[in-house]
Chain length 214, copies 2
């Protein structure tokens, strides 16, 4: 917010797909007032950069090699509250969109959106608005039944057992792996069924994958 003549918009991109960052750069080239200061293939390295540079917008992917974009968004906003974060991701799940918006993002764009939609979103965010591409709007507006009930909280142990169930292990296998009695494993399993309202393990895994973020 300087009073200088050159009030250019500073953008950084965090995305492990060089082609995507290349594509966005190419989009933004038309606008001479936009500067892409840097691109990061990993998430965490952007934090020190943000601390020492004046960045207006971060374009942030969800799936990154080192951290997930949802958590990173929160860190960015804690450190640089004035910096706008726009998610740019392939994930079309409502839960993910809502999560990152709750963590302070100003917009959400799907990577398969038309280029002009992406441009529009960035412009709208600069105006202080929340911005979504068309497909994202539709996802947000049509919450599926399961989207209402917030995902159940699962404990550390349950998570561990869930992973083993997912890998195809039987309860007895799991008991041996975790040095537990069969009863204990089955109790945990039973509690998981109750929490998610599942009738069998396959349904449980389905529900978990729908409701638990990343």
């Amino acid at each position: 917010m300087s009073t200088e003549g050159k009030k250019s918009v500073n953008i950084i991109m965090v995305d492990d797909h060089p082609i995507v960052t290349e594509g966005i750069k190419s989009l933004l080239m038309d606008h001479p007032c936009v500067d892409v200061l840097a691109t990061f293939n990993h998430g965490l390295p952007c934090l020190p950069f943000l601390a020492s540079h004046n960045v207006d917008i971060v374009l942030l992917d969800i799936s990154l090699p080192d951290v997930n974009g949802i958590d990173l968004c929160l860190q960015i906003k804690s450190q640089n509250p004035k910096t706008y974060v726009i998610a740019l991701s392939n994930h079309a799940e409502r839960s993910i969109i809502v999560s990152i918006m709750q963590n302070g993002a100003s917009g959400y764009m799907l990577k398969n959106s038309p280029v002009d939609e992406i441009k529009k979103c960035i412009i709208n965010v600069l105006k202080g608005k929340l911005a979504f591409t068309q497909a994202v709007k539709e996802i947000i507006e049509k919450p599926a039944l399961n989207q209402f009930k917030k995902p159940p909280k699962i404990t550390k142990r349950e998570k561990e057992i869930l992973a083993l169930i997912d890998s195809g292990k039987t309860s007895m296998d799991i008991a041996e792996i975790l040095f537990l009695s069969l009863s204990t494993v089955e109790t945990h399993r039973h509690n998981l069924f109750q929490k998610f309202g599942a009738k069998n393990a396959i349904e449980l895994l389905k529900l978990v994958k729908e409701q638990v973020v990343i």
Copy 2:
């Protein structure tokens, strides 16, 4: 191999992510001899285009809205044998890479590859070589155990039942849905276990998802 002065390379792209096509275009701009004739967000529309234009290279995504890139590659090569097809995809599964190469592709690039690797690959393909990005080479060279046994053939009915198992249905549910006796469903289920060497339904689904393409 004409004797004309302007020997430009004609490329088309088939990818439902406009940003990606934009990114590739931007990459190839440095090379004045390269012409990007067209980009397609869907797979099938490229076929008539290829019939009426002289295209040297098709950059082809695997996941497309209307068809999968593996089948499309075969169609392209049947129709235009001299056109090189290079897969450009997010899929890092060996089975997928091998499948599309068997269908006549000349290269496979992962979308998260560095831009210079992608450039190199395209150049190598133009020289008539097979070309892979680094990560793809590593995937091909390290075939996992399960990669040796070719995926079992499953029948129409088995596929149907597999989908219902995957959705969390019990055998009795499936019997009712398909108007079959419980015994029949269990026989099919049992045959599936044998074909895939699975001990339980979850393991079965895991193996299916590993071994069956898309």
